[in-house]
C-alpha cells in the first residue's frame, strides 16, 4: 500500500503548489499517450525518475508498483512483437500463420513498438504516486478546490479518507465475528468460497457504515453545511516563482510535444 504524504519530509517538490504538481502530472500523462516512439517515452521516463530522485522517494516503491503490472507488461511486449505490422524483417520464426495473424517474421517496428508500450505503462503507473507522495492530503484537496473542482466533491473525498480507518476497523470486527461463527474462508478458502464469504463481510459492513452516516449527516447539518456563504480555508496556497517556472515548462513541453507529434516526430 502506498501512503499519502504526511508532509514530514521537506524536498523541493513538497514546497510546490498542489496545482502545479497536478498540471505537471497531466502533462506527463498526456505526453506519454501522445508519443509512440520508445526514445521519446524513455525521455519522459528519465524525467519522471529524476523527479522521483529529487523528491527522495524510496525506489522500492517503484518496484512494488510495477510488480503488479509485470504480467501485462510481458503480454503487451509479446503481442506487439509478434503481431505489430512492421516492414523491417529481422528474422523469420516460421511460415505465415494466417489464423492468428502472424506473418512469420519478427520486425524491428514490432520490437520498438512493444518497448514503447511497456515504457508507456511504466510512466503512467509511477507518475501518479509521485504527485501524491509529495503532497499532503489537505493541500491536495485545496489544489482541487482551487482548480474549480466543486467543494462538495472535494469534501466527499476528504471525508472518505478520514473515515477510512474507522471502516477498516469495522471490517476487522466483522471478520472477527464471522471467524467466531466458524467462517474461516477470508484468507485461505478457494476463490468462489472466498467471494461468497466476501458477501457475508460486505453486507454488514455497508449497513453498519450507512448507520454511521446518520451521525455524520446530523453533524454536517448542525454546522450548516451547504449554507450559501463564501467559504474560507484554513490553509492557503500561493504560487511561488518555482511554481511559475514549472508551469511554463509544463505548458511548453505539452505544446512542443503535440507540435512534434503533428509534424510526424515521436512516432514509429
Amino acid at each position: 500500500m502506498i501512503g499519502i504524504s504526511s508532509g514530514a519530509r521537506r524536498t523541493p517538490l513538497n514546497g510546490l503548489d498542489g496545482r502545479t504538481k497536478l498540471i505537471a502530472l497531466l502533462t506527463i500523462f498526456i505526453l506519454a499517450l501522445v508519443f509512440s516512439s520508445p526514445y521519446y517515452i524513455l525521455g519522459l521516463l528519465a524525467l519522471v525518475l529524476t523527479t522521483w530522485a529529487i523528491a527522495r522517494l524510496p525506489w522500492k516503491l517503484i518496484k512494488d508498483i510495477l510488480k503488479f503490472f509485470l504480467i501485462i507488461a510481458v503480454i503487451i511486449l509479446v503481442v506487439q512483437i509478434f503481431f505489430y505490422p512492421g516492414e523491417t524483417n529481422l528474422f523469420r520464426l516460421s511460415g505465415p500463420i494466417g489464423f492468428i495473424g502472424f506473418s512469420g517474421y519478427i520486425t524491428l517496428e514490432g520490437i520498438m513498438f512493444g518497448i514503447a508500450m511497456v515504457l508507456r505503462l511504466v510512466v503512467i503507473m509511477i507518475v501518479a504516486p509521485l504527485l501524491v507522495l509529495t503532497t499532503p492530503l489537505p493541500e491536495f484537496m485545496l489544489a482541487l478546490v482551487k482548480l474549480k473542482v466543486p467543494y462538495r466533491f472535494a469534501f466527499i473525498m476528504t471525508t472518505a479518507l478520514s473515515l477510512l480507518p474507522s471502516i477498516q476497523s469495522h471490517s476487522a470486527i466483522i471478520q472477527q465475528a464471522q471467524l467466531c461463527r466458524g467462517i474461516t474462508d477470508f484468507e485461505t478458502g478457494r476463490l468462489l468460497t472466498k467471494l461468497r464469504t466476501t458477501a457475508g463481510l460486505l453486507v454488514p459492513l455497508i449497513l453498519g457504515t450507512f448507520r454511521d452516516s446518520q451521525t455524520l449527516d446530523v453533524a454536517m447539518s448542525s454546522r450548516a453545511f451547504g449554507a450559501p456563504v463564501k467559504r474560507t480555508f484554513l490553509l492557503e496556497s500561493h504560487f511561488c516563482p518555482t511554481d511559475y517556472i514549472i508551469l511554463i515548462l509544463a505548458i511548453l513541453f505539452l505544446l512542443g510535444g503535440v507540435a512534434l507529434r503533428v509534424l510526424g516526430y515521436g512516432t514509429l
Binding site: 500500500m1 503487451i76 495473424g101 504516486p129 472518505a160 458477501a199 460486505l202
Partner: protein
Amino acid sequence: MSTSTPKPQPEIRAAPRTWKSRGRLLGMPISVLAIWAALYIAASAVPALPVPGMAGMITINAIMTAISGMVLGPGAAIANAAGGIIAMILYPYGFSAGPLGFLTVTMGGLVAGLLFANKWVLAGILEILIIGSWFVNPQSWQTGMWLVPLPYSLIALLVIFIKPLRDWVRTSILTLHKVWLWPAVFLMCCVGHAGEFMMTNTMVNWMFNLSWQYWVPTLPYWIMVDTVIIVVSTFVGVGVLIGLRKARLPQYADWLEK
C-alpha cells in the same frame, strides 16, 4: 427621555432550503456519498481475482461499482469517482488505466444510477457512447473484436431500451419483490458492471494498442470473470437493499418514493 423611532431594518430572509442546501447531491445525502466513497476505498484494498493478462487485480470494488447505482442512484457516479481517485492512489494495482482509472468506475455507477432513476435516455446515450468509443479505435475493427463488448453490454442495452424489461427491473427492486428481486438485481448489476468493464477495455485498448490476438482468445476468461463478479454483486446487492429498507437507512429508492 425621548425615544427615537427605530430605523426600518431590512427584512432578513433565510435562504430557501432546497435539497442542495441541506447537503444533498443528486438526491443522496453527501454524508452517504462520503461513506460510500470510503467503503469503496476500503474495498479496493481487497484483491479478489488475480488477472492474468491484465494489469494487477480485480478487487472487491468491482462489486461496489456494480451495486452502486441501485443504492445511490446517479449520485453513485460522484461517490465512485471520489473513492476511485483516492483508491487509485492508495492501491494502484486495481486500476489498469492509470491516473484516469477512476473514470471507469464513475461511468459504471452513472449508467446504472441513471437507469435506476428512470433517466433511461441519458443512460442509453452513455452506454452507447461507451460501446461506441470501443469501435472508434481502428484496432477494434480487427477480426472478432466486435465480440468483446457483446456479452454484458448487450444485456445492458436490452435492459435500458426495452421498456417492459426496464420497468420490471426497477419495480422489482423498488418493491423488493420476494422472487423477482434477485433476477432484477442481477440485471442491474450487469448494467453497472458493463459500463465499468467496457470503459476499462476501451481505455486500455487506446493506451496500449492491444490487438485481437490479445482480446479474442482471452474473451472466454473475461466472460467468466465478469460473471463471477456480477453473481457475487447480486448476492451483496440483494442483502444491502433489503438491509437498508429494514433498517430504514437512506437509499436512493426513498428519494424516488418521495
